[in-house]
Amino acid sequence: MNHPTLRRNLTSFSVAFLLLFSVILTLSPAVRERTWQTDLRWDHWIGFAIWLALFLLVQHLTSRRVPDSDAFLLPTAFLLSGWGLLTVWRLDPYFGARQAIWLTASTLGFFLLLRFPTDLLFLRRYKYLALTGGILLTALTLVFGSNPSGFGPRLWIGGADVYLQPSEPLKLLLVIYLAAYLANRLPAETFESLRAQSLQRVLAIPLIVPTAIMTGISLLILVVQRDLGTASIFLLLYTIILFLATGKRRVLLVTFAGLGLAALVGYFFVDIIHARLEAWLSPWTDPSGRSYQVIQSLLAIANGGLFGRGPGLGSPTLVPVALSDFIYTSIVEETGFLGAAALLTLLGILLTRGAHAALTAPDRFQRLLAGGVTAYLGVQSLLIIGGNLRLLPLTGVTLPFVSYGGSSLLTSFLALALLLRVSSQPEDEPAPLASPRPYTFLVGLFFLGLFASALATGWWAIVRGPDLLTRTDNARRSIADRFVQRGALLDRGNQPITITTLRENIFVREYLYPDLSPLSGYTHPIFGQAGLEASLDGYLRGFQGNPSSLVLWHNLLYGTPPPGLDLRLSIDLDLQRSADRLLGEHVGALILMDSQSGEILALASHPTYDPNKLDETGDSLQTDPNSPLVNRAAQGAYPFGSLLDPLRAARFGQVSGPEAAQLRAFYEELGLYSAPDLRMPVGTASTFGEIENLRVSPLQIALAFSPLSNGGVLAAPRIALAVNTPAQGWVILSASRGPLPVMDEAEALAAAEALRVSEELFWRYGARSSEKEKSFAWFVAGTLPNWQGAPLTLVVLLEEDNASLAMSIGEALLKEALEP
C-alpha cells in the first residue's frame, strides 16, 4: 500500500470537501432569502482555517513520528471532526468557536500520547493508578458535579466556562485497564484451549474478579448519576473486551440478555428508563412531550431526503440538543441520505482499520487495547445514531469525533492516537492469534449496525419523508412561509382579502378583511392553520397547481415549495361588508348564495376575530365561550324547528304527513345527511335516518332551499372559483358534482309562490327552534323562479329568539343584492 499517495489523496479530498462546505455555508443566507442583498456568513472560516492548520500539522508530524502507522485512520478521523466542527459552527457560532478550541486541545493530547514510548508499557504498568484516578474524578461529580447548560444530570466538573465530563476519558481508561489486566493475567494457555473450556470455567477464574469489581464500581457511579447511556457503554465495553480475550460468544449473549432484563425492570420501576422506553416504543402518542426530541429528529431526517438541503439551508436547530446528541440528525438534514451513507461508511472504515490494527498488533496487550478502543468507537457511534433514528432507545451520548463536546472530542483523539500507535509497528511480527473470529465477528456486528442505520435513515428520509413533512408539528412549514410567497385570497372581483407582503426580506401574512376570518381562517406558526387557509393550503403553498417539475426543482434548490398561487373566491366583498354590518354584534350566521351556480357570495359568522392579532389573542380565542373560531355558517349544527315545512309541503302536500322513510329519502336528496363538499372546512353531518335529532348548518339549509329559486335544481356549492397558475393563467376550479334536480319545476314554482310576499321580488320564510333552553331564529329567502338576474338564496340564523331581526337582516341584504 502506497502510504504517501494514499495520505495525499485522502487529505486533498477531505480539504476540498470542507472547503466547499464552507463556501456553501457562506452563501447559504443568500439562497435562503433569495437575494444577494443580505449578510453572508463568514465566521466559520476561522473554524475551517484552524481545522486545516491542525490537519496539515498532524499529518506532517505523524508521518515523521509514526511513519508506518495506518494511512486511513487519520484522514478519516479528521474528515469526521472537520465535518462535525463546521456543522456545530453552523448550528451555533459560539459553540463552534469553543469546538475549534477543543479541537486544538485534543490535537495536543493526541501528540502527547504519540510521544510516549512505542510499546505503551507505561499504560500497562500504571493501569490501576489510571483507572482509579478516573473513577475518583468521576466520583467527584457526585459531590461537585455541575451541568454547563444549568439543568439536567450533573456529569461535568469544572467552572469558568471550562467543563470536563470525566466519564468520557474514563471509558478509555477502562479499556486500557482491561486490556492490560487480561493480557497479563489470563492463563498463559493458548487461546484455543481456553476456547475449549466451558464458559463457567473461564469466568470462574478468580483472576477475572478484579476486572468485574473495577467495572462494577465505574458502573455504580454512572448509575447513581443517572448517566445510563454511558453506563450501558461501560457494560458493553467490558463484555466485548472479555469476548475478544476469551472468544466466548456467550459472554455477549449474557450481557445482551442482562441489558434487556435491566431495561425491563427499569421500565416498570425507574421513571427515566420508563420515559425513554415509552418514547422509543410509541413516540407518536406523545409527539409534543417526552418523544418531542425523537420526532423532531425524524422530521429533520425527513426534511433531508435523498440529497439534503445543503449546508446552512436546513433547519436542524429545531431539534433539541442538535449540537451533541443529535448531530447526526443535523448532518442528515443538510446532506441527506447521501451524506448519511457517506458518514456511516467513514465510521465503517474507521472501525475496520481499528480491527486491522488489533489483528496485526505485536503483542496481546496492544491487540486487546486496539480491539477495545475500536469497540468504544463502534458502540458509542451506533448507540447514538440508533437513538437518533429510533432504532434504539435514546441514550444521551456523543458521536465520536463529530459531536460538540470537549471531553468527547479529546477522548476520541486519544483513542485515535492509541490506534495509530498500535498500527505503527508493521516490521514486528503480529502476535500469534489462534482465531481471528472474535475480531471479525465484532466488526461484522458493527457493519450490521451501520447497515441497519443506513436503512433506517433511508426509510425516514425517503420512504416516510413526504408523509412526515406534512405533520403540523413540523415547524419547517412555517419557516418556509417566511421565505416563500404564499398565494393570496381574492374576492370574485379580484379584490384582496388575505395577502402576503415582504417586510425586511421576510414574508408576512396580512388579513385585509378580518371579519371574514371564520371562513378565510389563518396560517400561523404556533396556532397552525384554519378555514380556507387550511383547506386550500395546497394551492396557497404552491404544491398544487404548479407543474410537478417546478415543485421538484424548488425542493432541490431551496427545500421549499415554489411560490404559492392566488385563489379567487366566490365572495363578493361589497355584499360581505353589508352582511357583516347587518349582523353586527349579534351571534349568528348568514349565507347568501347564487342558487344556479352554487357560488357563495357572502358568508358571515359572528362573533368574528382578527387573525392579525393572533399572537396576542390566540390562546384566549381557543377558550372563548362564544367560539369565534368556528364558522357557524358551515360548521354549526342547529335544530331547525318547522323551517323545512314549505319543502315538505311542496313534495308531500299539506294534508297528510309523509312516512318516516319517505321523509328520510327526501332529506337525503336535499343533502341534510351529508356534509356539503366544497373546498372549505364544514361540520360533520348528522347520521342518516335522524329526524328528531337532525341538526343542520345554515349552509345545508341554503342548499336545501336553493331549488326553489333555481327551478328545482340543487346546484353544487362553490367557494374557490379559480386559481392563478403560472402556465395557464386563471384556471377554473370545478364543483365537486354537477347540478341535481330534486323537484320538478312546477313543484318548485308552487312552493316559491306559496312563500311569496306581495310587492316583493322574493319568497321568504322564517322559523324558530330551540334546544336546551337556547332559542334560535331562522330566516330563509330567495328570488322567485321568474327572476331575470342570477337567482339567489339567503339564510340567516341568529342564536337568539328574535325572528323579526333575522327577517330584517335577511331582507335588507337580499334587497341590496337584487339592486342593479
Binding site: 500500500m1 494514499l6 489523496n9 485522502l10 479530498f13 477531505s14 476540498a16 470537501f17 466547499l20 462546505f21 463556501v23 456553501i24 452563501l27 447559504s28 443568500a30 439562497v31 433569495r34 444577494w36 494511512a71 486511513f72 484522514p75 478519516t76 474528515l79 493458548t190 484451549s193 475449549a196 440529497f307 439534503g308 445543503g310 449546508p311 439551508l313 446532506t335 447521501l338 451524506g339 457517506a342 461508511t345 467513514l346 472504515i349 475496520t352 511480527e429 500469534p432 432541490l556 434548490l557 431551496y558
Partner: protein, 152 residues
C-alpha cells in the same frame, strides 16, 4: 441565481465526499489483493516424514501443504492405525516462516525428541515426533519441488 450556484457546489461537495470514500475503499481493496498475492506466492517447504510404525516397518511420505494432522480419523492427512493414538492427535503447521508441531489434546500425549510436547514448538530437520507406538522423523525440504507421494 445563488441557489443554482449553490446546487452546483453541493454536487461538487458530494463528489468530494464520495471521492474520499471511493479512494479509501479502492485502496483497501487493492491492499487486500496484494496481500492475497503475497500469500499465494509464499510456499511452505516440503515436509518429508519417515514414519516408523510400532509393529515395525517404515513408510516415507512428502507433504506440500502448510498444515497437516495425524490421527486415527480417516479425515486426517496422515492416518495412523495405532490404538494409542487419538482420532486427531497432532498437528504440524507452517507459519511465521517455521514448521510448528502442536498436540491437539490427545489422550496419550505427544513426545518431541523424548520430551513431552506441551506447547506448540518449532520443528527442525531430524526431530522425532512420537505419538502412541509410532515415531515420525521429520526432515524439512529446502525447496518446494513437487514429488510423487507414496500411498500407504
Amino acid at each position: 441565481m445563488s441557489a443554482v450556484l449553490v446546487l452546483i457546489l453541493r454536487l461538487a461537495l458530494s463528489i468530494c465526499l464520495y471521492a474520499f470514500l471511493g479512494w479509501a475503499l479502492f485502496t483497501l481493496w487493492r491492499g487486500l489483493q496484494q496481500q492475497g498475492l503475497a500469500l499465494a506466492l509464499r510456499k511452505a517447504p516440503a515436509l518429508d516424514l519417515a514414519i516408523q510404525h510400532g509393529q515395525g516397518g517404515t513408510t516415507r511420505r512428502t507433504f506440500q501443504q502448510t498444515e497437516l494432522t495425524f490421527g486415527r480419523d480417516p479425515a486426517c492427512d496422515l492416518v495412523l492405525n495405532d490404538d494409542a493414538i487419538s482420532a486427531r492427535h497432532v498437528r504440524l503447521s507452517f507459519h511465521h516462516g517455521q514448521w510448528w508441531v502442536e498436540d491437539l489434546g490427545s489422550t496419550n500425549g505427544t513426545r518431541l525428541n523424548q520430551s513431552a510436547l506441551a506447547t506448540p514448538t518449532v520443528l527442525a530437520t531430524g526431530d522425532q515426533i512420537e505419538c502412541g507406538h509410532t515415531a515420525v522423523i521429520v526432515s524439512i525440504g529446502a525447496s518446494a519441488d513437487p514429488s510423487p507421494t507414496t500411498r500407504l
